[in-house]
Symmetry: D2
Subunit: 303 residues, 4 copies
């Protein structure tokens, strides 16, 4: 079928390719004309036959909101917008209400798979009306992995459910990554273990901890066995934070997911104000030696 696709970045670009390989006609638009099929959003819409389906794959927040608003002006009753980016689920309800006024349908879709999705397919979680989901199913079927539909696709619930599910997916992902990372650090710290990459690789087929993330960590250690080329500096992208906020809103204990998030925060600090305060306290009550701040943060000689 025919699809308009707004946003041809790291994710959207690959998705267009996967959809075309499946035989769909994709008219992509991106501000970067080098990758865009259309000159403008209006041009893209103009090249689609009603009833249209337009997939939005731009950064969350203002870019997504503005795109949805502009599509509200350009599309017609009966068309569908699928927000496939990383919107916070609470934004979907506003988007859906805006478009509903004009008779335009709205689905939100969480998409997982990263740069590997082009070949492996993407895990999809969708929120919205069942009838709209059904109309867009050929697109979902092309994007999701081969195999049974329910192993790569879920109609999770009403509008917002797709992004809520994706948010939780990412919160879990933070926890999983941190669990492997702590274990890796402990293996590397112990003298008795001589070949850490070999141990992780030996886990990839038969053990309880085998997973795709483990495969990726094995890949990474294959390229750089001591991760000597990297700094332990880790960004977070929004969903991890929203997950903890949602956990708080629902009074759900989330010690593991929050520990993973806080570890990322800490990884980005040159020095920790909190630990300065602890050092100051120890100095106050016990006369414990403290480390003075050096000439430049993090680079100073330890005195």
């Amino acid at each position: 079928m025919q699809l308009g696709l707004v946003g041809l970045g790291k994710m959207g670009f690959n998705m267009r390719e996967r959809l075309r390989r499946a035989g769909h006609e994709v008219v992509g638009f991106d501000r970067n004309q080098e990758v865009s099929d259309a000159e403008s959003l209006a041009d893209m819409v103009g090249r689609l036959s009603a009833p249209r389906v337009v997939w939005v794959m731009v950064p969350h927040g203002a870019p997504t909101r503005e795109t949805v608003e502009r599509l509200g002006e350009l599309l017609e009753p009966g068309d569908i917008v699928i927000e496939g980016g990383n919107s916070r689920w609470t934004e979907d309800q506003a988007n859906a209400a805006l478009l509903a006024e004009k008779g335009i349908g709205y689905l939100d879709c969480g998409v997982s798979g990263g740069v590997w999705g082009l070949e492996n397919g993407y895990g999809l979680m969708v929120g919205g009306d069942a009838e709209l989901v059904e109309r867009a199913m050929p697109i979902f079927d092309a994007l999701r992995p081969e195999g049974p539909r329910d192993e790569g696709f879920a109609h999770a619930g009403e509008v917002g459910a797709g992004h809520f599910a994706k948010m939780v997916h990412n919160g879990i992902e933070y926890g999983l990554m941190q669990a492997y990372a702590e274990g890796y650090e402990l293996l590397a710290a112990a003298d008795v273990v001589k070949d850490v990459p070999a141990v992780l690789k030996a886990w990839t087929r038969g053990t309880v901890v085998r997973s795709w993330l483990l495969d990726l960590l094995v890949n990474a250690l294959g390229e750089d066995p001591e991760l000597a080329e990297l700094r332990g500096y880790v960004e977070d992208s929004g969903e991890g934070r929203w997950t903890i906020e949602a956990a708080i809103a629902h009074a759900v204990p989330a010690p593991v997911m929050s520990a993973a998030l806080f570890s990322r925060f800490a990884s980005r600090q040159e020095d920790s104000p909190a630990m300065k305060a602890v050092a100051a306290l120890r100095n106050q009550f016990g006369g414990h030696a403290v480390h003075k701040a050096g000439p430049t943060s993090g680079a100073g000689e330890v005195k």
Copy 2:
């Protein structure tokens, strides 16, 4: 090749079967004569030709130690003992020293795979001398999953390295399970998501969080979509504790693995003394209402 196998419980029983399917001759011994091939440990040893290889697969602690001591009396120089149970890695060094006095070799082997290992093979992590590892390789090759050896087997280091690696594996496992569990609880708590099992199932092929544990959780939800048949009561088996102790010994931060362990501890408490103390404090400073203990712990009416 020929193997003596001591301990035919849930794990050992299946391992004997897998080894026999691979064409090895296994003489198993268990105190339970219904499953045992030999009448006694001495009988088992007597039925093996030197140089012998004996795999020990009994509960860790005293049963393992006593078995190793007894094997030290029964075996001959040049024989090998492989401790494949869940010993703490620090016990391996004592075991190895004991047997070394008699010229008997010692390997420790962490084994992962649970009840699925019979069909899937077991992930194996081995510690000890390379020469001994080489001699036992046909056994390791039969137990590990099909495919490249290094994806299911590692010679991790010296004596103790196998169990150290297995210990960390289990620590990671605790963290992974807790991450999925927290995410599951959050999905279940949110009204917007209508079909939690479907969401988890949709993650199994294309997403970043796909794993064998996720497959198992999907299985469990397939059988009992709201886990209504279960209580949230979770044992821990030793390795999780040892992992945190090892992390402390190496000054490795382990917030995720420890949070997972502590969640298990808390799951087994009818009431929390710590939270009683917090309730008492709130009552003291703020006159906040408290919940009185009921007629029997956990069953009392909330007043």
Copy 3:
């Protein structure tokens, strides 16, 4: 000086008393006419001479917002409203803007001290214009503890700073309480310690951990040495959640404050969906025994 005081609950009632003891003229209003000095908010305002100072001490959220709006109608330019309840600091800016349109000043004041404040005085943290703070200083001086002003009062910053500081105060409080509580539980769990209340009492004068909260815990144990009368069920009141949300917004690691919050969440669960998921996983991969849900949650026999 003269003060209008809206809200004569657990906190406001005592504050009126403390202010009167200091010689101030307080006209209190509460919906509960038994404790109220005025028949209505309008009546209260009518009995104050301009320029008026009105302190709001009602539950946060809608009650506070509505009170502020109504005061906006009743007060005159040059009057001051002090929001002394537990508003989220982000609400202060809206309140201040609303009143600023009418020429009415606004201060936010975090108040700590609980039921003990009547005798001990209240710790005060204020946000807003210095000139307004100065005008209300006689009130602050009467409410705060005796002694140097800066040991019981701070002009923390602009509008919102008072409630932000109070929010963090409560986040810290959660962490402190949980630290004592965990230590209490560990002491109580160890056979070697025979007299837990005596140990905590011995900490109250000379140790590093002495504090007012410790004194309160000692009080509580004096009344009920094993806290046998209480259930470990602990509410949370908002500030603890907001603190973690603020920590996330500022990328500040908050492992201790969040652990304290999550422990409260968990304390209120009859059973943990997350731990059910962990139990389900262990059963799936290891055939581990699980505990079946009983006839009623939490009261069921463990099978």
Copy 4:
């Protein structure tokens, strides 16, 4: 009364002074002859009249064990050794058994108070026989703070109970310090709060979080309002680790105390191997930019 005091370091030196001020006769011994009253341990013992009381205040581990062994040779039946250092409570039982063979009594005493103990007195927690405790009471009374005995002294239980109680005290201390530290960091991170030291100072008299540690933090901020002179590098001294190990041994959830310990571990890392692993994973699945390790760890330019 008369006391032998072995170890005149930061703690012992002040304790001798406090005991002398109370009128006790203290014969101190230290390897550092500049502060020592006796030339040798034997000399010290020789200058005491039987039945002797000797207080040991040397570093835990080998120094304490060797001192106890040597005292076992030098002392006579009926004498008492008080181990007042930071021994692990499990070591007390061995010490007590060693001395019991020779008819020498043994008490273990946890001592809290740091450098402030000279003036404020020390909080004391003692383990051992009641009869021995009674004999040493004049010493305990001189060391503990003025006021009721039970507010600065506890006979906690049998041998080991004193150090167990002190260990938990320190575990709590870690949690308290971290709670204040996280709150401090959050206050400092928020633009709305203009005067962080003033806020903390305003908490010192009337609030729920008032404590001696808070007073110390206020002191520290008084000297260095942004803690600019310090690095956030924090040692840990043993008891924090033992507390978590004891919590694990008793299956007591300790999320706050462990988070505080792990934050100290992390504070000492130039880079985090775990976070390198997380960075590697993100790079693998999402093509996320990573920060390359610079020319020297921690000082490298972020690329």
